[in-house]
């Protein structure tokens, strides 16, 4: 039986953490994810969880302790944002290359500077090549659902990779709205026990974690790790299919909203997708065939699937909540453009950077962008720059 509740995104993820009750959580607080270790600590103090909570002295230590715990054979999680994720950087690669399926709740926030606490995807986008699976959410419901699916994906024997479950800082993490929660027994039954094939505390088996590899062997290790990321594709879909059976909610690599007959598409990640859906409905009323392609899974990147979903559109705007500083556009646009090229698409594509440092993006902004796409597909792409900003002050 689903339980109707109202919660912030942080409360929702903390609740999922309680329902899963992993073995270990090392954590160091940083806005806007601070509430996650706070809630978990309260649950533990109240006897509702028996997770071993380790208050560490930095995020580098948090990820180091998570690696140690996970290597020992314990199901492990942590949470962070922004500079906290940046401080974990070195250890992110250690976790992924040692094939340790740690779950990390990322509450997306801008990186400095200027010093800013608000939403941006630059933190997790910066970590996109660290070997972690990355799944993004539109709202509190999705981030709750994604977290419950996280361990089933990460711990799958064909995957064994760490996973980031991302939500938009403040917009989702601190906004209270309606949500449907699963019963704890259903969650525990779905997630199941963690039974890794190899771990440090396994009796009668010795193993090395994080050894040096000479050039004669290192490349094979990387190739095997890449294979695991490829395998994650099918596992993500299989886990979603199973999750639908207990939740009634459908997930995949992406959500296509009124896209199947759309002429103009926006491609985006995160909470902005809810805002864009309202714009799509308003434009459809006026006879403009607008649609949305919401990217849920960024790692592994479902390039072919996204290109196929967009295939019939006349023009698309790809939105990045991250500057990237490549001087050539944001990371989503770069990867999607490559996928469209591979798919031999000749669609007009523009790249939009929006929402930096928490700058708001409105239904009106989305409607104007669709109208720009309509003009662009009629008169050809007049954009002289590789990408442009929306919401920038004059």
């Amino acid at each position: 039986m689903a339980v109707k509740e109202r919660m912030s995104g942080n409360e929702a993820v903390a609740f999922a953490m309680k329902q899963i009750n992993p073995d270990v959580m090392p954590a160091f607080p940083i806005t806007p994810s601070t509430e996650l270790p706070q809630f978990v600590s309260s649950y533990i103090a109240n006897g509702e969880m028996d997770t071993e909570f380790i208050p560490v002295e930095s995020e580098h230590s948090a990820m180091s302790a998570a690696i140690g715990a996970e290597a020992a054979g314990a199901r492990t999680m942590t949470a962070t944002s922004s500079a906290g994720l940046a401080l974990m950087w070195e250890m992110l690669y250690v976790a992924a290359s040692n094939r340790l399926p740690i779950a990390l709740a990322v509450v997306n926030r801008a990186l400095s500077g200027p010093l800013n606490i608000n939403c941006e995807h630059s933190d997790s986008m910066g970590a996109r090549d660290s070997g972690w699976i990355q799944i993004y959410a539109e709202d509190n419901q999705e981030v709750y659902d994604n977290f419950i699916q996280a361990y089933r994906i990460a711990e799958h024997k064909d995957v064994m990779l760490p996973i980031m479950i991302c939500q938009d800082g403040f917009i989702i993490s601190h906004g209270v709205s309606n949500i449907e929660l699963l019963e704890e027994a259903d969650v525990r039954n779905f997630v199941g026990a963690y039974e890794p094939a190899h771990y440090l505390f396994k009796e009668g088996e010795s193993m090395a974690v994080g050894p040096y590899a000479v050039s004669a062997y290192g490349m094979e290790a990387k190739r095997a790790q890449a294979e695991a990321m490829k395998n994650a594709r099918q596992v993500i879909l299989d886990v979603a299919e199973e999750y639908k059976k207990i939740s009634g909610r459908e997930y995949g690599f992406y959500e296509a909203y009124r896209l199947s007959d759309a002429d103009y598409a926006i491609v985006a990640i995160g909470s902005v997708c809810g805002t864009i859906k309202d714009a799509v409905d308003a434009l459809r009323e006026k006879g403009i065939k607008a649609g949305l392609l919401k990217v849920r899974v960024f790692r592994p990147f479902p390039g072919k699937e996204l290109a196929d979903a967009l295939g019939h559109c006349r023009a698309a705007a790809v939105m990045d909540r991250c500057e990237g500083f490549s001087a050539n556009g944001g990371p989503l646009a770069a990867e999607l453009s490559a996928a469209l090229f591979q798919a031999k698409s000749r669609m007009e594509v523009v790249n939009i950077v929006y929402g930096l440092n928490g700058r708001d993006f409105t239904v009106d902004d989305a409607e104007k962008l669709y109208q720009d796409l309509a003009r662009l597909s009629e008169h050809g792409n007049q954009e002289t720059e590789a990408y442009r900003y929306i919401g920038l002050r004059d």
């Binding site: 109202r6 938009d168 989702i172 906004g175 209270v176 709205s177 809810g274 859906k277």
Partner: protein, 199 residues
Amino acid sequence: MKQLTEIRWHGRGGQGAKTAALLLADVAFSIGKHVQGFPEYGPERMGAPITAYDRISSQAIRVHSNIYEPDFVVVVDDTLLHDVDVTRGLKKDGAVLINTEKEKEEILPLLNGYAGAVYAIDAKKVCMETLGKYFPNTPMLAAVVKVSKVMEREVFLSEMEASLRHKFEKKPEVLEGNKKALAMAFEEVKLYRDREVKR
């Protein structure tokens, strides 16, 4: 109630405007509404102007932007009227609700020509008579329910009693004061100026 009601709160850091916005979302949720309650985070510190928002709807809410054209505005501290354009974007058929001890002659000229309805409540008076301490949240919550009509008075009071009973489980003496503050606030809301009706 129409399908979607949007409310913007203006307060100063430390006065509980954000908490009040979340409480309103809570109580609307408890009667089966779809809700959003969220603060706008900035360099928040005691006394600095802060903004918080509510969306209350009979249907699922997807939009995730701030509210620029609210149906109602709540001002928790009347000194903000000098610093912040509180009625910016406020719908003409909506209303602004101000916590103030001042008379309408002093308040109305500070509203930048807003043509909609203006309500006032002296939350301090309500608090001092019922709680003995100044917590503007509680009376403001009741006042905004009255002005916005997002729910019936009796439904609101009984839902609030249930949630206060839970919240103050260990401090039952606080419960009675809060209940009185809510009921009194309903009576203390004054109409300073009705909207200019054009039919």
